[in-house]
């Protein structure tokens, strides 16, 4: 297929790997430079755990529902939701960093790389997800002292779930970032993406309870990918599998991913229209 000339069109696997490594490395460096970001990423779920959960413990009784084998504390119940929340925030911060990159012009550095655009976007996504791992395990470590002690094997089995849900939230964030024109609009993302996703899910209350209160809200929660990310993590943390959650998370991941890649595609994307509304293509 390829003619053995001095030229070699395309890129070798090693070059792809170098590119991915470079993008992950830069994201990690940025993360380390912004220590406040790490602290706030950690404090947020801990506030929920230490304060909210402690207060709600008496109000909300939890019956025995899978994957739990016994009665559990409310703190234990909301931990998977808080992990998913860490990843959701991280995904949205990735989106923020892309908007910031775009405003500062850094995004151009990424996009003029000769490697395929879909690969660059995916690498950025992997980088963002990798960063969320630090946050999740730091949170789990602190939570362990708060008597949230999943089986030791759970710390391993949760990894694939974290990868999938992290990628899903990151892809969503990227899709969102292509829609935001300016940095200031990020507050809107909090209101219109993060809060609704978090509250209309199984993160804070089991869905059977929601159903008792409002069948409509129950349906909304069921349609919310965040619910399924939470459930996937919840089951995985107890070394169990929730196939429905897995399927839904994979489905949304694929959809968000395609959306993000199209959004950053020069001919179709929203970026091309940035210069003015209703660009030809």
């Amino acid at each position: 297929m390829t003619i053995q000339l001095a030229q070699r069109p395309g890129f070798s696997l090693a070059q792809y790997a170098i590119c991915l490594k470079g993008i992950v490395w830069r994201e990690a460096l940025r993360f380390l430079h912004q220590r406040e970001r790490f602290v706030s990423a950690l404090v947020r779920p801990l506030v929920w755990l230490f304060i909210f959960a402690a207060g709600f413990r008496q109000v909300l009784g939890i019956s025995i529902i899978p994957p739990y084998d016994t009665y559990i504390l409310y703190e234990v119940y909301i931990t998977p939701g808080l992990i998913a929340m860490i990843q959701l925030f991280n995904g949205m911060l990735l989106s923020l960093s892309m908007v910031y990159d775009r405003e500062m012009g850094n995004m151009r550095t990424l996009l003029v790389s000769p490697l395929p655009r879909w690969y660059l976007i995916s690498s950025k996504l992997v980088a963002g997800t990798a960063v969320s791992f630090f946050q999740v395990y730091a949170f789990l470590a602190i939570a362990w002292f708060w008597e949230i002690e999943p089986p030791p094997i759970g710390y391993l089995t949760v990894i694939p779930a974290l990868v999938l849900s992290g990628l899903m939230m990151g892809a969503l964030g990227m899709l969102v970032s292509s829609l935001i024109k300016q940095l200031e609009n990020f507050a809107g993302v909090m209101n219109f993406v993060i809060f609704p996703m978090f509250f209309a899910s199984s993160a804070l209350y089991p869905l059977w309870r929601v159903q008792e209160a409002s069948p409509l809200l129950y349906d909304i929660c069921q349609a919310n990918p965040f619910t399924h990310a939470t459930e996937l993590i919840r089951f995985a943390l107890y070394a169990k599998m929730n196939w429905v959650a897995l399927a839904v998370v994979c489905g949304f991941l694929a959809a968000f991913m395609v959306g993000a890649i199209l959004a950053y595609d020069p001919s179709r994307g929203f970026i091309a229209r940035r210069g003015g509304p209703g660009g030809e293509t």
Partner: protein
């Protein structure tokens, strides 16, 4: 492969005959606003071409198209024969870009910025460090490699951006108003540096500007006004065509010409 510094470790097609940059019938509109209208030109390898135009002439749009930030709506752009739309990878890998806005990561060090760029071109860390050290030495910033970019002056940042754009050994370097916001000395330094690249390394340069005093007599000149190309050729030729003694006068005459609809002199 002919003894130039730019023999490429990855091997590049022997496209000696193709122009360094060929823009063919390119039009671009943002909604109703026409930013570029049927622009065509070709620039020869190892030449220094100045793209002269006022703000809003379409220079930045042209750059966005050449670098594939936007897809070309009409027409074609080829870099050494590689079509930007059809073979973006091959086209972009021989293209170096310095954008008008600063695109360095302020919180990372100079070296980190350079190795990041190298990684985006599939160049490994060791090779990247070596090339970066070379590049920094050449722009006189070898001792600043580990400083944060934030601590550099505007002129130094620009020089780092140029060094970065050259890291993957491009054969065509495009710069979009690279001297904006720089003081006189920094401007002169950068101009001299880029001219040396053309003379010594055979890099082809496309330099966009709205400042006529950045143009040398030996340059090729493209005049862009309200999305249309009004002149293209060696400076002497453009002067002869317009019958004016200076580029400034020639530019004024060209842009005041009645055929450019609603052309208003600055």
């Amino acid at each position: 492969m002919h003894g130039t510094e730019h023999t490429d470790p990855q091997g590049r097609p022997p496209t000696q005959t193709a122009p360094a940059l060929e823009v063919e019938g390119v039009s671009h509109a943002y909604g109703k606003r026409q930013a570029l209208a049927d622009v065509s030109f070709a620039i020869a390898p190892a030449s220094h071409t100045v793209l002269l135009g006022l703000n809003g002439a379409g220079k930045s749009t042209l750059f966005s198209l050449v670098t594939r930030l936007f897809a070309t709506q009409r027409g074609a752009i080829r870099i050494f024969g590689h079509d930007v739309a059809r073979a973006p990878g091959e086209a972009l890998r021989i293209l170096g870009v310095v954008f008008q806005p600063r695109t360095l990561d302020l919180d990372l060090s100079v070296m980190q910025n350079l190795t990041y760029h190298a990684a985006l071109h599939g160049i490994g860390k060791r090779e990247a460090r070596r090339r970066a050290a070379d590049g920094l030495a050449r722009i006189g910033l070898a001792d600043r490699a580990h400083d944060k970019v934030r601590d550099l002056s505007g002129g130094q940042m620009r020089r780092v951006e140029i060094a970065r754009a050259l890291l993957h050994r491009p054969r065509l370097l495009v710069l979009d108003e690279p001297t904006v916001g720089l003081d006189i000395k920094a401007r002169a330094d950068i101009l001299a540096h880029v001219r040396a690249l053309v003379a010594q390394e055979g890099v082809c340069v496309l330099w966009a500007t709205h400042l006529v005093d950045e143009i040398a007599d030996t340059d090729d000149l493209i005049v862009l006004h309200q999305g249309r190309m009004l002149a293209h050729g060696p400076v002497a030729e453009v002067l002869a065509q317009t019958g004016e003694p200076t580029v400034r006068a020639a530019f004024t005459r060209l842009t005041a010409a009645p055929e450019s609809d609603a052309g208003s002199a600055p």
